[in-house]
Symmetry: D2
Subunit: 354 residues, 4 copies
């Protein structure tokens, strides 16, 4: 029996939404055991005090990171779901003391390979530049092979995962005009996290929609990096995120112009072929556009392509659940590769609709 000894997993930052989503997935993953849960402000409490949906389950008590002795750790892998900025110090410390532990980081700290770009977008020098170089960018559909051997994986952002899955195959074969890409993105509220802020209160965000971070959202740095790598040249796109009164989901509506002979149907064909064998990316028939609700709770991304009425232009839609394929599901997919499990293990939930 292969699961006689289960992999021991820790979740740092279990009191946030991505932390809870990791616990939801890991609880039913046949190859792992949740051995550690941290939450500094809630240390000493049970997970059910923080997230009552876990009331019936036996889980480790929440502890603070400071209370841990990493040099004695027997964990195989930790997920790091801590705020941007503090993450790099924590992971540097962990890996200094427990060199064989593997890490999937869900923050933005290790996503940018260029330390200057990091400093420019985040306003301070990186605290762990050597780890930054070691880190592998964790979009499985692009970097599957490198992830298998990685010690530290930087899980991509939710907006960027959605846009990359739709565009990278097109950039790679130079099928679209890199100078004329507009990404209008819409996210559910869990993307903004669980910190108590006035602008995230129910009454502030229900019954309305608005754009935010217009012209300067940090996810742009990640898009620039990965799009430019895929296209083999500098790519800068227009990207505007919006908040939608729903819990989960990102929809990217992407306006592109085909280059050369590439009509919208050809862009669709490129994507369809590219993802033919991917377990978690599904390309809809030409002319059908995705809805976020149809991937809710699943690790799937749905992609659709439609002809614009302007000759040569196409409209691409991509939808995923920001907490699953956009965060914790992607992270478990990375874990599966890093620990040698089948890639889809524990991630086969069918979407919850309605």
């Amino acid at each position: 029996m292969p699961q006689t000894v289960k992999a021991k997993i820790g979740v740092l930052g279990a009191s946030g939404y991505t932390g809870a989503e990791l616990v939801r997935l890991l609880l039913r993953h046949p190859g792992v055991e949740i051995a550690l849960l941290t939450a500094d402000r809630r240390a000493g409490q049970e997970m059910r005090d923080v997230f009552p949906q876990f009331s019936p389950f036996v889980l480790p008590k929440l502890v603070s990171i400071e209370s841990l002795d990493w040099s004695a750790s027997t964990l195989d892998l930790i997920f790091c779901a801590l705020p941007h900025g503090t993450t790099q110090k924590v992971i540097k410390d962990v890996l200094a003391k427990a060199r064989s532990i593997k890490v999937v980081d869900l923050s933005a700290d290790f996503r940018l390979a260029d330390l200057d770009a990091y400093a420019r977008w985040y306003g301070h020098a990186h605290q762990a530049p050597e780890l930054q170089q070691e880190a592998v960018y964790g979009l499985v559909e692009v970097y599957r092979d490198r992830i298998k051997g990685a010690r530290l994986v930087a899980n991509p952002g939710c907006y960027t995962s959605c846009a990359q899955l739709a565009l990278i195959p097109l950039f790679k074969v130079e099928a679209i005009d890199v100078g004329e890409v507009v990404i209008d993105a819409k996210s559910g509220m869990t993307g903004a996290g669980r910190a108590a802020k006035e602008e995230m209160l129910f009454s502030e965000v229900s019954e309305g929609i608005h754009a935010y971070g217009v012209g300067h959202h940090r996810h742009m740095a990640e898009l620039d990096q990965e799009f430019s790598l895929a296209a083999g040249r500098d790519v800068v796109v227009s990207f505007t995120p919006h908040l939608v009164p729903m819990n989960r989901g990102i929809l990217s509506t992407i306006y592109v112009r085909g280059v050369g002979e590439n009509r919208p149907e050809d862009l669709h064909a490129i994507l369809l072929k590219h993802y033919a064998n991917e377990p978690f990316v599904h390309v809809l028939p030409f002319g059908t556009m995705p809805q976020t609700r149809h991937v809710r709770g699943s690790n799937l991304t749905f992609i659709g392509v439609t002809r614009d009425r302007i000759a040569g232009r196409a409209i691409i839609g991509a939808a995923l659940d920001n907490l699953v394929k956009g965060a914790s599901g992607q992270a478990v997919q990375n874990m599966n590769l890093m620990l040698g499990f089948p890639e889809a293990m524990g991630l086969e939930q069918v979407a919850l609709f309605p």
Copy 2:
């Protein structure tokens, strides 16, 4: 390997919400194979045309019931998710032609054992009275043993499942005053089904709450029957359902008075003990009340008991997902018993919150 030959399952009425929820659960159930899906108005279409969340999955094409030859059927069990009234004729026909097929009916047609009560509440004589007598009421936590041997199980209503799980253990030990029970129930919109009605449009039901069916909701007949059986005497409760702008969930807020020595704490202790070994009923600590969102997508029912400030009175809360424990999850739980699978097989999803 026990699952070499999987049980063959049919879903009649797959284009409604309970039908889709059955497909969601059965797709990942290790012991079964979905062999038949019917939907009269959508016959000839694929399930993905009706519910796009199933786009990546291979499923049988939708067919009409009329097109089927039941005498040649190799199905082991069918779920019947058809409208009230038509169900009894369909099942009568199926069981006349395919006597060994097992049936879990999600409609109200076979829930009332008393044919007079049926006629009174539904306005017409029952069309299959002999099957009515054979049918077993499918609330597993009450009728587990009878369900194991049943051919036809009447899956309980969503409102009634919620209220029964909270009250039946108390009625059984005569712990509460049967003359003073008020059940104020709140349901998500999927409880009203998928038929296109003006009063179910988004703009009619969002941003508001209202009661409906006040004084005469048909679920009352089912409550009367089961509560009276549990109490060993006639019980008639006040029951008022409300519609809440959310997709899933039923919350029953129940006002009771303890009799004899039974303080609220004692009522809690009775429930805690009664459900100690049940996989799908979880009693929260005394004074903690349940929220529907914490059971969303799972087969769990959460129950809480709190002391009212009026001496002797308690307030009981019960929450479940109306499409899972209140319908399709319960139905799969019944199937598991009827086909000899472990009771919880395929039903262990952790709730999706947020």
Copy 3:
């Protein structure tokens, strides 16, 4: 022209929801001028920085209360929309320095006439007991005459306004059993205010419903006081509030038993007659129940009465907008009486549905 000189009005606590709602109403009230807006943490900002819906309007800049010299004030009336507890000190100070100013207080500080009850429910002695005795409870439909001459009016709570309007006429004529009243109340999220708390985040409260404050909500003290006064004897009711994923609205579903000859139809007739000439309370036809959405944004309360199937019992529904009739609209109605304006002036908005 009577409005040559408009009354000068101040709003203390303009950065909360009831403050903004006061501004919405007062901006279009033909008899008043908004002369002062305070918001301690936002002092120095414009109202449009705090509530962008006011961008096109000219309004006084927000100031802190500490910066004001009340002895030089020319205000005719202030609304006090400050947190419970701090209010009593502020009003005591204002009225000591500006004795002719009139005050409508939207907090709970002056609602309880019994100082012992206040201390018991709020955990500390009242800081302005002499003003407590002077304050008039501001439910216009009950205390209209006293309010006209009052200097300090305690605007009722939102839950209590809703329940009182439905029950007080019945208590007054001893039409219902005072020992068997259950009030199951459901509120929109604005009732919880604008303070940034984790449990009020969109993702915590959308797609679900739950009870809170079960057995010990502070609005009970107010209900006890007013119900007992109306009934002429001690009345203690069961009251359970719930939070519903909607912005505005309170629905009270009330379970009562008629006494003497009073059938449900008689309870309806009592209410219909009682409110025949009230501008802001509308009794629906017997058997019709109210929906919160149909009073949204208006100062109206809708009341309905339906027969329960248990002989002698009735179910009463009452719906209002917690920010209008449950708070700021009620407050303006009080202001109109206190300043000699027509009672409905500035309050005739038709409900915004859908």
Copy 4:
């Protein structure tokens, strides 16, 4: 007293959302009297049976259009809120029999001046081509003078009003590249009307977002016409509408490139100057983007301009309430001009937020 004799107004199609919104506004308009309400399928019922928010108000009973004798009509103006297609026949008949009646039509029937374009987009020849030529396009901010003298005004579409108010001043002065305009529009559910359709049910549209009509939405014809007129040359834009789980509101996020010397700040300055004296269009400070919730229930449009990080490109946001400025409020604004009332009369409601 100027309002001794009020204008007599009819609403054809009062049982839909735009009809109800007209009634909401007209009930409080000091210059008019609602003299006629039609609703064919609800003829004989009261408005309160169709929209309970009007329960307290006295309104004409609903009648069918067929039952009316237009030659004897004393109405001054009718609003026509009927479905596209049937409208042209009804209005043709009305104006043949009652030549002096004025008409504001809220359907799309008279918006396109080019009969060929009409036939192409709607699939049939226009039934009243001579009226089509007479009709004035009713976007007040563009055609104010012509509207004042019009007998038949074609009220603009909701999506098109929002996009036109943001872009027409820029097209007029040739400030943006007409070949590179992308309009990503998001609408609340009331924009889809009150017809009972499965895809508009609460459970189908809550908790998700999706694009629809991609590449071929009929509002494009209206955009083409008005943008080309404004720019003085053929303009074809990319336009993609989305449905958002909210009742009211349209947000247009518009991606443009300035031409010549026009930086984003210049585009903002053009809009700010253009709308300086408009009562219902408000331009936010440069860099501030609008939210639909801040105009809810009001006749206002908020417009914002932000710099994109791509040199020369700007992102423009425009928000309005689709039922007010996008339909019924706009229609009343047209009526005010046509009947000689002050333009803002009855339209000064402050937005309802939260």
